[in-house]
Symmetry: C2
Subunit: 155 residues, 2 copies
């Protein structure tokens, strides 16, 4: 699990109370990292654990977490938002690279290299100061690529 006290600090610094519900949501996120969970999935996991929490509270909590940089809200166009822990929410970081397989739907996280070149380029050409970015790469994972080759008989 992540450092719990820095989580607490982050909450208090931003003027929010440390509550049991917020700690519970946080612990689910930690235990399931680096998964991208929906609000409802988190709600169900907590309920299965016999921790009583309201769905509204889960949404509210995730909203706060995202605002203060504990989580990132990501959207894979399947009708609901997902939340993932920011890698190291003490330092500045912004990486949201997801490899989304069009075959099996699996989502993998990827590295954040090379984006700096692109960002510098954009600053030069557009005078646009990039604060954050979201990159989604759609394609076929190794497994599905293999499967496709066999099925289509392509060389």
């Amino acid at each position: 699990m992540k450092n719990n006290s820095s989580f607490k600090n982050k909450l208090e610094e931003s003027g929010h109370s440390f509550t049991s519900q917020r700690a519970e949501v946080y612990s689910i996120l930690c235990e399931n990292a680096p998964a991208h969970l929906t609000a409802e999935e988190i709600f169900i996991k907590l309920t299965q654990r016999h921790l009583k929490i309201g769905l509204s509270t889960v949404y509210r909590t995730l909203g706060i977490f995202t605002n203060i940089g504990i989580t990132d809200k990501v959207d894979f166009d399947d009708g609901m938002s997902r939340y993932e822990l920011v890698e190291n929410f003490d330092g500045k970081n912004h990486r949201h690279h997801h490899l989304i397989c069009l075959g099996c739907g699996r989502v993998e996280d990827a590295l954040d290299d090379l984006m700096e070149d692109l960002e510098n380029d954009v600053l030069e050409k557009f005078s646009f100061n990039i604060i954050d970015h979201s990159v989604k790469l759609y394609g076929y994972c190794a497994e599905c690529s293999m499967k496709n080759k066999i099925e289509t008989g392509s060389k």
Copy 2:
């Protein structure tokens, strides 16, 4: 306006009829390119023009357009999807770079350079074959950057 007959071809090739409603939605998209319109915005523009069309038809049409590569569906996390014409839907192309200003909310389209390096990198490291990508860059446009500097008095 774009070449209308290739639009018609694209529809027929994919087994869809050419209807007046589809032509109307297409013409709104052409006239407003490169804007990113919501289904409702398109519906309103058509209604103002006294062209009768149902909102469901607009949604359905945009769904088809996106499926057959006439439009791209983009999402700026403001609660509704937007649609934009694919640059040249006859050839293979995939560029969805948007500069989203956190100050004024304006969305600008950016170039697609440098992504090839990143894609090659991902193929090497993850054996993941990229078909398409979506890149959203959040930050401050030239104007808002200027405004921020004045307000905060930072050098």
